[in-house]
Amino acid sequence: MSPGQSILVVHPDKKTQRVCQRILGVTGFPVDVADDLAGGLARIEVRKPILIVVDGASVLSPAADAFFAATRGVEACMTLLEVTSAGQVPKILGTGAVTNLLVHPMPVLAEELTVTAQKLIRRDLFGADKYLLWGTELHEVTIVRGGQRGELIGRVAEHVKAIGQSPRVAQAAMLVTDELVSNAVHNAPVDGSGDHYRKDLPRDVELLLDEAHQVRVRWGCDARYLAIEVRDKFGSLDRDTILRSLGRTGVRETGGGAGMGVALTYRSCDHLVFNLAPGRQTEVVALIDVRASAADRGPASSYNVFVERA
C-alpha cells in the first residue's frame, strides 16, 4: 500500500456508507466517505483513492461530468445501483463513463466489492476463479478451429444440465459461450495497423487457428455462480468499445459480428467482467447466478471493466 492511498465511498445514505466502510475496511486501506459528488471531489484532491465507490443515482446528476473527469486517473470507480433503480441502467450506460456497475440488493453484498478491491490492490486481474468458492473445478478447452464453437456450446450445455442446473441457466450458458468465443476468434485478432482482419470472415466457414489465434475457454460452477471465462491473446478490446457495446439495442444488417455479441452476453448473465491487458490478452468472465429463479434475479446486470496498468 502506498502512503496516502485510500478508498473513497460517495453515497448519501449513511447506512450504505457504513456497510461499504466495513466491507472495504478489511483491505487495510483507509476508507473515506462523502455524502455527495462535491464532497467526493474535495476528498479526491486531498488523497488519490485507489478505488471510488459511488452512488449510481448520482451518475445522472449535473455534477457527474466534473466528478468522472476527476476520477479518470483513479484505478477504478465502482458505481452502486440499488435493484429498485435498475431502470436507470440504460441512461448510465449512455454516459459512457461508468466502467464498473454493481446492481445490488440492500444491503450491499460484500463479495463483489471485496473482489473488485482486491483485484485492484493486488494488481491481479485475471481468472474466473476469483469469483468462485475455493475448490471449484474449472473445466478447460482450447479452441483450435472456428467450427469448434458449435461443439463447445453443446458440451457446456450438457455439463450444466448434468450438474442439475435449470434449462434457463443452460440456455444462458450456451448464448454467453457462443458470443464470447465468436468475438475472441473473429473480432479479437488485430494486425499492427489496428485492422481486425477476421471480423468479416463468414462464421460458418472452417478456420484453423494457430497458437497466436487460439482461444482458451474455462467454466465452472460453485452452486452460487456458473462462471464462463474466455481469453484471447490479442488484447485488442478497449474500454470505450465495451462501454458503447453494453448499451446497444440495434443490430447491424451486415458484417460478421452483428454488433450485438457483447450486449446480448451482458443481458444474458448477471455479472460481466472484462479483464484487459492491452496488446497482450483480453479475458471476459460471465457470471450466471444459479441460485436465483428468473423472478428473483435483478432486472439489470452488473459489469466491471478492469485495465491492467504497466
Partner: protein, 160 residues
C-alpha cells in the same frame, strides 16, 4: 420430410412449418421464408433451443423480407430463447404476430420449474395488463407462480 438447414431443422406439419434446433450463422432462413404460401407463413418455434446474435441478424432480415413481400408471419409456440430475443431487440418482432408462447413458471409447493404454453390470443386482455395466466403444476397440481418479471417477459407483446 425434414430439411436440415445448418443446425436448424424444418418440417411441414398441418398448416405450418416446425423449426427446431439452433438459429445461427448456418441457418438458411431465406429457405424458410420461401415456404410461404398465399402470403402466409406459419412457424412453430417450440423446438428452438438457441439463437445467437448472427441468428438474430438473419431472423430480422427474414422478417424484413417478409414485410416487403407482404407475407404475414404467424409465430406459434414460441420458445423461451426466442422470447428473450423478442424482448431484448425490438427489430426481431418485425410485423410477425405471436399466437402462443412458452413462459417460465415455478411451483411453490414442490419446487418444480417448467416452461408452460400460453395462448396469447385467448389471454390477450390479461397479458395486456401484464398478468400471467394461472397455471397448475403438472406434478402436484398446485398453483404455479409466474417465474419472471411480467414487465420484462411480456414486453414483446406490446405493439410499438
Amino acid at each position: 420430410m425434414t430439411e436440415q438447414l445448418g443446425r436448424l431443422t424444418l418440417e411441414q406439419r398441418n398448416d405450418g412449418f416446425v423449426l427446431a434446433g439452433a438459429i445461427d450463422e448456418t441457418s438458411q432462413l431465406d429457405v424458410v421464408l420461401a415456404k410461404a404460401k398465399a402470403g402466409t407463413l406459419v412457424l412453430d418455434l417450440a423446438g428452438i433451443t438457441f439463437i445467437n446474435s448472427l441468428g438474430v441478424r438473419d431472423w430480422i432480415r427474414m422478417l424484413s423480407a417478409a414485410t416487403k413481400a407482404n407475407i404475414k408471419v404467424e409465430l406459434r409456440r414460441v420458445s423461451e430463447p426466442i422470447v428473450h430475443q423478442l424482448n431484448m431487440i425490438v427489430a426481431t418482432r418485425g410485423t410477425a404476430t405471436v399466437a402462443s408462447f412458452y413462459a417460465p413458471y415455478a411451483c411453490d409447493s414442490c419446487g418444480r420449474e417448467d416452461s408452460l404454453l400460453i395462448d396469447a390470443i385467448r389471454n390477450q386482455v390479461q397479458l395486456e395488463r401484464l398478468q400471467a395466466p394461472p397455471m397448475a403444476c403438472p406434478e402436484c397440481k398446485s398453483n404455479m407462480a409466474f417465474n419472471d418479471f411480467p414487465e420484462r417477459y411480456f414486453s414483446f407483446l406490446a405493439r410499438t
